[in-house]
């Protein structure tokens, strides 16, 4: 057992995948010599050589597009986007080709590829470095979209994503890169389609993922001090959504609050609220509440905290569900 950060857990997952599967390639901007701007690929080029871990020209669309070509050739590419908003130049290749190639080739070509995207805010960055692009990707059929909240999940989900025959958008909550956990590695892969109850409770369910799981846990902790027992569900997978786990939790607690950094409008919370309303209409004690950013471009660093969900805003939302 060692204490490692999420960044290091991801690094170990890449290392173990490169070691176990000779078809795995790791590439992107600055991933070779530098080891990535977040050091997630640190040391991999030295260990596996520059044919398997390589820097590319600065062109996200083609970084995604060569994943298509390499996957047709039978490689298992793992491409890094340097930051969330810099995945947008790759959007057309991801949605029009990577996501559709399996359908387009009648199932002949597997797109066993992973696009890693550091995402989310709270790191005091300049524009384009703090966005939450998940809704864009989950709205595209043909992509699996997952996001870890802990070092253990980061390792297990990334191993599973690389081994899965389908394209996976792997969203890494960058503010959590330095979070630590005691871990035994290597660990088995985690399922790509399962949410996890990270804190059991009875009076309401907080649904979170990636960077907001810690926020939800902090809120649940604070609520407990005031005598309320809140369950926290970590989605882990954003597409598909593990509605079974969500429904089972909310069936028990009768109240739900969805928390994400992305704007509330048309966010993941909208789909979850609609599903819960439909499936548990006769069970819900209150409307599903959502906590997220406003419908504004990601704000400048000095004011970002006003827009990001925090425990207080989550608890206010929980209180609203308890007014019924």
């Amino acid at each position: 057992m060692t204490t490692i950060t999420m960044g290091k857990a991801l690094n170990e997952a890449l290392r173990d995948a490169l070691r176990d599967d000779p078809r795995v390639l790791v590439y992107g901007e600055d991933v070779g010599r530098l080891g990535g701007v977040f050091r997630v690929t640190d040391g991999l080029r030295a260990e596996f050589g520059e044919e398997r871990v390589f820097d590319t020209p600065l062109a996200e669309s083609t970084i995604a597009a060569i994943a298509v070509g390499l996957a047709i050739k039978g490689f298992h590419p793992v491409a890094e986007m340097q930051f969330d908003a810099f995945s947008y130049p790759a959007f057309n290749q991801i949605t029009s080709n990577l996501a559709k190639y399996h359908t387009r080739t009648q199932g002949a070509c597997n797109m066993q590829a992973v696009i890693r995207i550091p995402y989310g805010g709270n790191i005091g960055a300049v524009e384009h470095h703090s966005e939450s692009p998940e809704t864009y990707y989950v709205h595209t059929a043909g992509l699996k979209v997952v996001t870890p909240s802990t070092p253990a999940d980061a390792y297990g989900l990334l191993r599973a994503a690389i081994a899965d025959p389908d394209p996976v958008i792997f969203l890494e909550p960058k503010a959590r890169y330095w979070s630590r956990q005691d871990l035994d590695l290597p660990a088995p892969p985690l399922p790509l389609d399962r949410a996890q109850i990270v804190r059991p409770g009875t009076d309401g369910t907080i649904i979170a993922y990636g960077p907001t799981v810690q926020v939800a846990l902090a809120a649940a902790e604070a609520a407990e001090a005031e005598g309320a027992s809140l369950e926290v569900v970590d989605l882990r997978s954003l597409s598909p959504l593990d509605l079974d786990t969500l429904s089972a939790s909310v069936r028990k607690t009768k109240r739900a609050v969805v928390v994400h950094e992305a704007p509330v409008f048309m966010g993941i919370g909208a789909e979850i609220a609609a599903r819960l309303m439909h499936d548990l209409f006769d069970v819900l004690a209150a409307p599903v509440e959502r906590v997220g950013s406003a419908t504004v471009p990601y704000p400048p660093a000095r004011v970002e905290k006003l827009f990001l969900p925090d425990a207080d805003r989550v608890l206010e939302a929980v209180d609203r569900t308890r007014q019924y």
Binding site: R52, P57, T62, I72, K73, D166
Partner: protein, 368 residues
């Protein structure tokens, strides 16, 4: 990757391009290059035969669309030499990544014409298994197939395979970011790719001069490899030049850009009305360059063309067109539930559930 840093920098300036020396100022194969290439009469006759068949199939495509049997047809008339010449120049083990107009390439790769046509009938987004024909699917999103070909070629290089990759696109596609990015990646990674620009003078209604500043072929220089403009309606030139470029790629000498100048005789697609942007007088000068007439002339010069041969090819073309129609019209409409089967190799349970609900709704009373 693949190259050390030194090697990557080393092809900043390439030495005099021997392929460029194969054509004259009009982009036509020189007599000397023709002798050196030593293309047999049989090969030239086969190129003629394939072009003639594809032209007949193209006509049948128009007929089928007018009869309501195809949702859309994208005519290839004018592209026969570029497509047949380039596709046949590639070794069987090479790969081709076509764009939507590369119908003749698909036929050259052995796809049954009637099956290929199911794409235009609206039965499928992809009519063949790429691995069976070493042929990617037709790509509609303009320019986006170009970096796929480059990625595949990088993979060939990583696998130390002597495989070359051909990618087709129009001159309009050379305006896209993906095209330029792919050219740059190919140059940096010295990928074994032959870029084939089928420059037919039009991107729907936009003429070449409003699409391309300068010449497409010259753009290769900016990416560290050679480019060459050739007469794209002369099949022997296309075949010989592309074959040399593919050989070069297979020998590790990196990418090559071929700009095949030609013309689109028909509408962009059956949804287009070319009278809004060009006149018959615009088209006329290009008709004189017609690829099939020119292949005929070349064969006659060699004493390798006869009336019997011409008749036999015409008969085969007719037969192929009839067979294509029959195959197309008997192709089954896919069960709508199949759309769900194709999304993933490893579908999540939630999608299978959605599929069951979808199918049950379509077929009330079914046992789902």
């Amino acid at each position: 990757m693949v190259d050390t840093l030194g090697a990557r920098a080393a092809h900043d300036s390439h030495p005099a391009d021997p392929i460029a020396a194969m054509v004259n100022a009009d982009g036509l194969l020189t007599a000397e290059a023709e002798r050196a290439a030593n293309i047999s009469d049989d090969v030239l006759r086969d190129l003629y035969r394939r072009m003639a068949i594809c032209r007949r199939l193209d006509q049948e495509g128009l007929n089928l669309q007018r009869q309501g049997e195809l949702g859309l047809w994208g005519p290839i008339a004018g592209h026969e030499a570029a497509q047949v010449g380039a596709a046949m120049a590639m070794a069987e083990t090479d790969w081709i990544f076509p764009y939507y107009r590369d119908f003749a390439m698909t036929i050259c790769r052995g796809v049954d014409p009637g099956i290929a046509m199911t794409w235009f009938r609206g039965l499928t987004h992809g009519a063949w298994n790429p691995y069976e024909h070493r042929l990617g699917p037709l790509i509609i999103s303009v320019g986006t197939q170009v970096p796929h070909a480059v990625g595949f070629a990088i993979g060939c290089k990583l696998d130390h395979e002597p495989t070359a990759v051909l990618v087709g696109f129009g001159e309009g596609s050379t305006s896209t970011g993906d095209w330029h990015e792919a050219m740059n990646f190919a140059g940096v990674f010295k990928a074994p790719v032959v870029f084939l620009c089928e420059n037919n003078q039009w991107a729907i209604s936009v003429p070449m001069r409003e699409q391309v500043a300068g010449r497409v072929a010259d753009r290769a220089a900016g990416y560290g490899f050679p480019g060459l403009r050739i007469d794209g309606s002369d099949v022997l030139t296309v075949y010989t030049v592309v074959r040399a470029a593919a050989d070069r790629a297979r020998h590790g000498e990196g990418p090559y850009l071929v700009e095949a100048l030609t013309y689109r005789f028909q509408a962009h697609t059956t949804s287009d009305d070319p009278t809004r942007y060009r006149t018959d007088a615009d088209v006329e000068p290009w008709r004189a360059k017609d690829s099939i007439a020119r292949a005929t002339a070349r064969l006659r010069d060699r004493g390798a063309f006869s009336d019997d041969f011409e008749r036999a090819v015409a008969a085969e073309a007719e037969e192929t067109a009839l067979a294509m129609r029959a195959t197309l019209l008997s192709a089954a409409t896919p069960h709508p539930g199949q759309a769900f089967d194709l999304v993933f190799a490893n579908p999540p349970a939630s999608l299978l559930r959605e599929q069951a609900e979808f199918v049950a709704e379509l077929e009330p009373g079914s046992a789902e």
